[in-house]
């Protein structure tokens, strides 16, 4: 799966979690929480949706690696590959 596809997957999840947010100008290299109104419970929702939708587990120690769209793509790429997605 390409980095762009992974970013879109994460952004789609964010759209469900924060439906009032304008996601058209999210910068991939900046922290999501610096650009959007997301709290720690919202962040856990991202982890939960990755688990439910794709069977991907993100251990607590790795949460910082989901900070931005770029870091999500880098961190999640091997996990999606492992799942054959």
């Amino acid at each position: 799966m390409t980095a762009e596809s992974i970013k879109k997957i994460v952004l789609d999840i964010v759209a469900e979690i924060a439906p009032d947010e304008d996601l058209s100008n999210v910068k991939p290299d900046l922290r999501l929480r610096d650009q959007l109104s997301l709290d720690s419970m919202d962040f856990l929702d991202i982890v939960m949706e990755l688990r439910k939708k794709y069977g991907i587990e993100v251990p607590e120690g790795d949460y910082p690696r989901l900070a931005s769209l770029d870091s999500c793509a880098e961190y999640l790429a091997p996990k999606f590959a492992e799942k054959g997605i």
Binding site: D20, M48, R51, K52
Partner: protein, 412 residues
């Protein structure tokens, strides 16, 4: 002992299955318009239920709604509407002096059932159980969501009092105002009960769940063919203030709370005890310094169960035996049983009588059960009263909790 302040109602916010504000609700009660739908209940198929269609996004963002409980959302809508109705300068009001007291019959069942259903889709693996579960299911959730949404920093909690909870919320608020704990109270009750299949299954297996091919005919207290309860959602919150504070700000005063009482049957878990119900009404009358003859309207609690309605009428005949101008009605034929919201919604439906002297009727009584008869029961169409000065509102609940609230017309 210092004289306790008089407590008045200055605002009402509500959503009922047949109205999203007090004017709409009252108009439909006078017009005989019920609104019960058939809903899909998880595992159980279609059953009649009262569902509200208030504008959810009026006071909450879509994001807030995603994590909010239905009871919290209903509470937030009602609280905002009540504050607006009260004409309070909310922006400049000291938020640490506002108390939120919300009655609930039950809370957490909807959310817990939803999580169990979710994990059932994943082999009952609890790692799919939502991290939102605990804040959604703590017992104070509906009241707490109101404080978060409105920035209220005074006390908040729910009052768990089965179907007497709406009245209990108002009584708690009145007491807190009299104690000087708060300067403004937002109080009443809410219900999200149609979202839990457990309450439907429980009533069904208790042979107390209503069924009828026409959902609007399913809730029929006092009718001979009644067969149980229609489970409904809804909310009704009032703003309560001390009389001196309300007068000082030139508030519109809707009514004064002049009497109340709560007691317990200390007997059966589900079958009401008319002796204790009568004691509850008499104690409320005594607190108000009134005789039964002075009450102009009694709103009954009757839910449409075979035994409960009869028991309540035994208590009514005991207390109001010789009261030819005390009219008696019931609201559940229109909206079903709104559980924690029942008491405050049903009282709200009668408040318009202070202005128009009209007593809204009971509906769906095609053949009055002789065991439920009462000389001044208002059936089918509104009754014009010579005057309406006092309304007595009864709400009773499981585990034998009885509540009576008496309000008085306020003469400016």
């Amino acid at each position: 002992m210092k004289m306790l302040s008089r407590i008045v109602v200055t605002g009402v916010g509500l959503t009922a299955p047949n109205g999203n504000n007090i004017a709409e609700f009252r108009a439909n009660l006078l017009a005989g318009k019920a609104n019960i739908s058939l809903i899909d209940v998880r595992y159980m198929g279609k059953h009649p239920a009262g569902i509200c269609d208030y504008e959810k996004t009026r006071y909450q963002s879509r994001r807030e709604l995603r994590t909010s409980t239905r009871a919290g959302s209903i509470g937030i809508y009602c609280a905002h509407e009540a504050i607006k109705d009260a004409g309070i300068d909310f922006e400049h009001f000291d938020k640490s002096r506002i108390g939120v007291y919300v009655g609930t019959t039950e809370h957490g069942n909807v959310e817990t059932e939803n999580e169990i259903y979710t994990i059932s889709q994943f082999g009952y693996d609890t790692k799919f159980w939502s991290h939102h579960h605990n804040p959604r299911t703590v017992a104070n959730n509906p009241a707490g969501e109101i404080t978060i949404n409105m920035g209220i920093t005074g006390p908040h909690y729910t009052i768990g009092a089965a179907c007497a909870a709406g009245n209990a919320g108002l009584i708690q608020a009145a007491q807190m105002l009299q104690l000087g704990e708060v300067d403004l109270a937002i109080a009443g009750g809410v219900s999200e009960s149609p979202g839990t299949f457990g309450i439907f299954a429980g009533f069904k297996n208790q042979t107390a769940l209503a069924a009828h091919e026409d959902p609007n005919k399913a809730s029929r207290p006092f009718d001979k063919s009644r067969n149980g309860i229609v489970i409904s959602e809804g909310g009704c919150l009032y703003t309560l203030e001390r009389l001196e504070d309300a007068l000082a700000r030139g508030a519109k005063i809707i009514c004064e709370i002049v009497g109340w009482h709560i007691n317990s049957d200390a007997g059966d878990t589900v079958l009401p005890d008319p002796v204790r119900q009568a004691e509850c009404m008499r104690a409320a009358l005594k607190r108000a310094g009134l005789t039964p003859q002075q009450i102009d309207i009694v709103n009954t609690h009757a839910t449409g169960t075979s035994k409960g309605d009869v028991q309540e009428m035994i208590a009514m005949r005991d207390v109001f035996a010789d009261c030819p101008t005390t009219y008696v009605n019931n609201t559940k034929g229109f909206i079903g049983h709104c559980m924690g919201a029942a008491g405050t919604l049903e009282l709200a439906g009668n408040l318009g009588a202070f202005e128009d002297n009209l007593v809204h009727p009971c509906i769906n009584i095609d053949e009055l059960d002789p065991d439920c008869s009462f000389p001044t029961l208002v059936v089918g169409k509104p009754q014009k009263a010579d005057k309406v000065e006092y309304i007595l509102n009864n709400s009773f609940g499981m585990l034998g909790i009885n509540s009576t609230l008496i309000v008085k017309k306020f003469n400016h």
